[in-house]
């Protein structure tokens, strides 16, 4: 078996009566882009919360480069090389854009001067350099999404978890974010992304994992997934049995 960067085995998490994630297994290889898709409420964001240490799994294992990350706190997972963004962006509104990214950069550069240089480099890459001195609360939605990505990127992760970074963006902005994710990936950072913008998923991901009711219902290349009967059912509903009879 190849050495996956992230290896998830039998992951489960229940909230009261709701089985949010059930016996989920999948992996992300080094330098790979994998997409996690599924209808609303399928458990995708729960998977991110489990991976990033905000939630503890009821059972199952998650390994990063062979080391288990189960039971690690969020800041420890971050130090080990997994960075996440939040679906609903969470900037530090009263801090400047630079300070926002600086917080992430301080993980690998304890000296403030080094961290600041790194944070500026990240802002350059995502195209927010001109806004560095502005409070993050003054940014537009599209800029906030990029800030969210910058902060995660500044922690220099091995695996980047992107939770709907394209949602709510217009076509040009989606195009720009696609470029950015490709560039980040080209630098050797693996990406696991949750996305509803199918064009983005199809053009970025080398593999897609489909969740429904917390379970993996399909996994494969984008072209395989696009024609998978179970996936189509999950998104569009099961065909009417009577109507299906000729």
């Amino acid at each position: 078996m190849s050495h996956a960067l992230l290896d998830v085995r039998g992951l489960s998490r229940r909230f009261g009566g709701l089985q949010a994630v059930r016996d989920l297994s999948f992996s992300v290889d080094e330098r790979e882009i994998v997409a996690l898709i599924g209808p609303n409420g399928a458990g995708k964001t729960t998977v991110f919360s489990l991976l990033s240490g905000f939630l503890a799994p009821d059972s199952g294992d998650m390994r990063l480069g062979g080391r288990s990350i189960v039971g690690r706190k969020p800041h420890e997972v971050c130090a080990l090389g997994v960075a996440r963004t939040f679906q609903i962006v969470r900037p530090f509104p009263k801090l400047t854009v630079l300070e926002n990214v600086l917080i992430g950069a301080l993980v690998r550069h304890p000296r403030r001067r080094d961290a600041e240089a790194h944070a500026r480099a990240v802002l350059d890459e995502v195209g927010l350099a001109a806004k560095a001195a502005q409070p993050a609360g003054t940014l537009t939605l599209s800029e906030r999404k990029r800030l969210e990505l910058s902060r995660a990127l500044a922690t220099e992760p091995r695996l980047l978890l992107l939770d709907e970074v394209m949602a709510g963006l217009n076509t040009t902005e989606v195009e720009r974010t696609l470029e950015l994710v490709r560039a980040i990936n080209a630098r050797g950072i693996a990406v696991l992304l949750i996305e509803h913008v199918m064009r983005a998923v199809m053009s970025l991901a080398s593999r897609i994992v489909v969740l429904n009711y917390g379970e993996r219902i399909a996994e494969g290349r984008p072209d395989e997934i696009a024609n998978d009967r179970r996936v189509i059912e999950a998104y569009l509903g099961e065909p009417d049995v009577d109507a299906a009879v000729p």
């Binding site: 969470r90 917080i103 403030r112």
Partner: protein, 312 residues
């Protein structure tokens, strides 16, 4: 900004030459409450963890130094550090309970108030530390006993305390610690996702803040020569501590000092003049009105408002 600060300090150093004894007293209280506010500001302002029980640390610090001095003849110059350590230990305990179990907002406020109240009731009922009557310190005027014939000595000690707390806050503000505290205040979950060990830094902030406040307890005890549990552990003192940084601007270096320069003279003068005319408690009304005005018109406090004015 730095020059303005240095100039202000020089001015304050020379000021006692020209002050009446009453004015001196007011300045001593301005500095002392600015000091307490600045110490609170580290955990309450920068880290955004609203402790409403900081009086407990003043009380612990004051009682420790006073008891060591009265019972064992230990000079308060040493006792003040013992008080700071004990206050820091109580701060660590409150912080641990609050932060480990994720108490946020009102729940953390209630926890801190509850601890201060427990301290107040415990001390009121332990006769060995003076019970409800409290402790009285005999005046000797001996500097070894932290007592001075000349009021100006208290003035300079209070000024030094204010500068010490401000210096510590300034160091914290510029370093990684300070940025992390602000990130935790803004959005703790996002801070953790970006690699910040929120629990650890909140604990640090709480311990630094409570030890500093405990240090001030000694000044309180040996300047006023008495400690009453209802006063030093009471909610009103906790409110006095918090209200100045809020008026001046929390999470800023200047805020607690500015707040104290606005509020302390107002409190003292209104207590003095309105009290004389039989309107006891009127200064509390003045406080209340000012607080309402600040919350309505300057929600970030006076200093951030002034700063925005001057930049324009």
């Amino acid at each position: 900004m730095k020059w303005a600060g240095a100039l202000a300090v020089l001015g304050l150093l020379a000021l006692p030459l020209t002050l009446s004894s009453y004015a001196l007293t007011i300045f001593i209280f301005i500095f002392f409450y600015a000091f307490l506010g600045q110490a609170w500001n580290i955990v309450g302002g920068y880290a955004g963890q609203l402790s409403a029980g900081h009086a407990a640390f003043v009380g612990i610090g004051g009682y420790t130094a006073a008891m060591l001095s009265i019972e064992h003849g230990v000079t308060p110059w040493i006792g003040m550090f013992a008080g700071a350590v004990l206050a820091g230990a109580l701060g660590a305990l409150i912080g641990y309970l609050g932060f480990r179990f994720g108490l946020r907002g009102f729940y953390f406020v209630l926890l801190t108030v509850a601890f201060a109240e427990v301290c107040r009731i415990l001390v009121s009922n332990i006769d060995a530390v003076g019970g409800a009557l409290g402790l009285y310190i005999t005046f000797t005027g001996n500097p070894r006993h932290f007592q001075f014939q000349d009021q100006r000595a208290y003035y300079y000690i209070a000024l030094a305390l204010m500068l010490l707390a401000t210096g510590i806050a300034a160091l914290i503000e510029r370093r990684r610690f300070g940025i992390y505290l602000r990130a935790i205040r803004e959005d703790e979950m996002a801070a953790e996702a970006a690699g910040v060990d929120a629990f650890r830094y909140k604990m640090f902030a709480m311990i630094v803040s409570s030890s500093l406040t405990g240090l001030g307890g000694t000044f309180y005890a040996f300047y006023l020569f008495s400690l009453q549990p209802n006063t030093v552990f009471g909610i009103p003192l906790s409110v006095e501590i918090i209200i100045r940084p809020i008026i001046g601007g929390t999470g800023t270096l200047v805020g607690p000092i500015l707040g104290s320069f606005i509020l302390t003279p107002l409190g003292e003068l209104s207590r003095h003049y309105l009290g004389q005319s039989g309107l006891h408690g009127a200064h509390l009304v003045a406080y209340g009105l000012l607080l309402i005005a600040v919350v309505l018109f300057l929600p970030n406090g006076a200093y951030p408002w002034l700063r925005a004015r001057f930049r324009r």
